[in-house]
């Protein structure tokens, strides 16, 4: 029996917007194995990001259960969710979200500052992460001194520096050019293949889906269709 690192069952999430009720999730189910590279596709506003937020412990579902890296997220307090995110999940956002006043290395180091470790070991882990995204030579640069593609690679380094089991990426190639997009996709694919990271990517980019082990289609609040991509890996 395959061990699933992500197990979400019958997730329901409802928002109220004035008099309208929006149901981004209405019974979504998802199971992802360790080391899997999964992309989630679907129309805008279909609830893909909401799903990602719930998997990452950034938001709560109204009903259903969500277990990630062995932790049942349902009903966890804000403080427990913070601990969970720090230890188990790395986020990559569409707009990079680097801290503008910190250098690339300091941005990558930020999540490590929540853990007790020596400054030397922190530095070592930061350099390893930067080398993994081929940006060790840009360690001292501020985000404003980097291209969009480089910023996103720094964001990936920040996401993996704590050695999380799961990496969740929301449109990671949405704001970068084609060449950078290919680099970012390659890095994320390598993380799954070589480091057994579980990578879940919400994307509209067909180049990213080509690398996926599985492509999930999101419609009407459910992951209603699973498609195996023949050329994956």
């Amino acid at each position: 029996m395959t061990e699933h690192i992500i197990e979400a069952h019958e997730l329901v999430k409802t928002y109220r917007n004035g008099e309208n009720t929006i149901n981004p999730l209405s019974g979504a189910n998802l199971e992802v194995a360790e080391g899997e590279f999964v992309t989630v596709m679907g129309p805008s506003g279909s609830g893909k990001s909401t799903l990602l937020h719930i998997l990452g412990g950034l938001d709560h579902q109204d009903s259903g259960t969500c277990r990630v890296a062995g932790v049942e997220l349902t009903g966890l307090s804000e403080s427990r969710l913070s601990d969970f995110r720090a230890a188990n999940v790395g986020f990559v956002f569409q707009s990079f979200n680097l801290i503008p006043v910190l250098s690339a290395a300091d941005n990558v180091e930020l999540p490590l500052r929540m853990f007790r470790m020596s400054a030397g070991r922190r530095k070592e882990q930061v350099m390893t992460a930067l080398e993994l995204v081929n940006l060790a030579d840009r360690a001292d640069h501020l985000p404003s001194q980097l291209s969009g593609g480089q910023e996103q690679r720094i964001a990936i380094a920040r996401a993996l520096v704590t050695d999380p089991k799961v990496i969740l990426a929301d449109e990671p190639t949405g704001n970068i050019d084609e060449e950078s997009s290919s680099e970012v996709t390659t890095i994320l694919r390598r993380l799954a293949t070589e480091q057994r990271k579980t990578v879940v990517i919400v994307t509209h980019d067909s180049e990213v889906t080509k690398e996926a082990d599985r492509i999930l289609l999101f419609a009407h609040g459910r992951l209603s269709e699973k498609v195996s991509y023949p050329s994956a890996k």
Binding site: H53, G56, L58, D59, E78, S79, S82, D83, F84, R85, A86, A87, F91, F93, N97, I99, P100, V101, L102, D106, L110, P111, R113, M114, R158
Partner: protein
């Protein structure tokens, strides 16, 4: 964890250098003004604080509400000296003079040198005091007044308002007493120039250690009740308090202005921190998303505000100390360590209070909402 986040705190505090510098300068000016006002209040209250031993009584005319207007016959000096428990009694004629182009207000006290020295136990150069005692139109001047007016021992000075021409033969060195900015002249000389022969403003009575000053004060007033001019006897400190009572409204006004300035400082910080936090709502969302607990994010914002406020407070304190010790000492202004520490502490409080309105939304805003914010 907070300590490990200090590099972020430091970089973050300077992300908008102009705004941070303006905030710091605003706090510095506020604390400077607050301390300057406090120093003025301290200066006005100083006489009461420095009036001396509790064994020293001040006997004045009971019918006068203003201490400065009190007049007693000089002969009361002897009568009061005979009251049980009084060791020494000496009449003092006190007047207020305005001196120099800057209009410095100075108390001139006409005294009997020997008796006054015994009653007040002032430390002064014996040679200078002897010269003062022997010269009828000589003066001993408090060091602060000497410094402020640029006078020297040996100078001949004229105080036109009191028709006083006198030669300075000595000075009262620093010893934390109320006459450090006063001028002492011979009583009979001042009586002549003020046409107040045989009159004094008050009588200073030293009570022996074995007697209760309050009981002696009551005994003096009881004895003088039947005399033509009844007296009111209080401790020297209470007498000084009565003098500053005339200025209390002004002191209270200064105090209120000081607190208004502090409130304005807190509002200024609140505005600056509020703008800063609104501008980086998304960044705060990112910090929370990567696992930094909300309480740490909150304390980072508060600490950033406190950092700027304390830097401003220290600058304001340094400025106030510099100005008051150099230019303000002439006007009797003074700034003690406690008051300066209070100034910096208030800056710190302003930093905390100023950050509070900005911090509460940080706690409440969901991470997903913060991340959706457009920079």
């Amino acid at each position: 964890m907070f300590m490990r986040m200090l590099p972020y705190l430091w970089h973050s505090a300077w992300r908008s250098k102009r705004r941070s510098i303006i905030t710091i300068l605003g706090v510095a000016v506020g604390i400077f003004v607050f301390l300057a006002l406090q120093s003025a209040i301290l200066a006005v209250k100083a006489p009461a604080r420095k009036a001396g031993s509790v064994q020293l009584l001040n006997v004045r005319e009971s019918a006068r509400s203003s201490v400065m207007a009190s007049r007693l016959p000089q002969g009361y000096e002897t009568k009061i000296g005979m009251v049980n428990g009084v060791e020494i009694s000496t009449g003092v004629l006190s007047d207020l003079a305005v001196i120099g182009e800057k209009g410095v207000h100075v108390f001139v006290r006409g005294i009997d040198p020997d008796k006054y020295l015994s009653a007040r136990a002032i430390t002064v150069d014996p040679q200078q005091w002897t010269e003062f005692r022997n010269g009828k139109n000589t003066a001993i001047v408090g060091w602060r007044l000497m410094e402020g007016m640029g006078w020297n021992v040996g100078d001949n000075i004229e105080i036109r308002g009191l028709n006083l021409r006198t030669r300075i033969v000595g000075f009262i060195p620093p010893q934390d007493i109320d006459i450090e900015d006063h001028m002492l002249v011979h009583r009979d000389y001042l009586q002549r120039t003020r046409t107040a022969e045989e009159q004094v403003s008050y009588i200073l009575a030293r009570v022996s250690q074995s007697n209760d000053p309050l009981s002696v004060a009551e005994a003096i007033d009881a004895q003088m009740k039947v005399s033509p001019i009844p007296t009111k006897t209080v401790s020297a400190a209470a007498y000084a308090q009565a003098i500053i009572k005339d200025f209390m409204g002004f002191i209270d006004y200064l105090g209120v202005i000081g607190w208004i300035v502090i409130a304005v400082v807190a509002l200024g910080i609140a505005n600056a921190v509020g703008i800063s936090v609104r501008e980086r709502t998304r960044e705060i969302g990112v910090l929370k998303a990567i696992g930094i607990p909300p309480c740490i994010v909150m304390s980072l914002v508060v600490s950033e505000s406190v950092l700027l406020a304390v830097i401003g407070g220290l600058l304001g304190m340094a400025g106030a100390w510099g100005v008051i010790t150099s230019a303000g000492s002439m006007a009797g202004l003074q700034l003690d360590v406690t008051t300066m520490a209070i100034g910096v502490f208030l800056a710190l409080i302003c930093g905390v209070l100023g950050a509070t309105p900005a911090v509460l939304p940080i706690v409440r805003i969901p991470v997903t909402e913060a991340l959706r914010t457009i920079d």
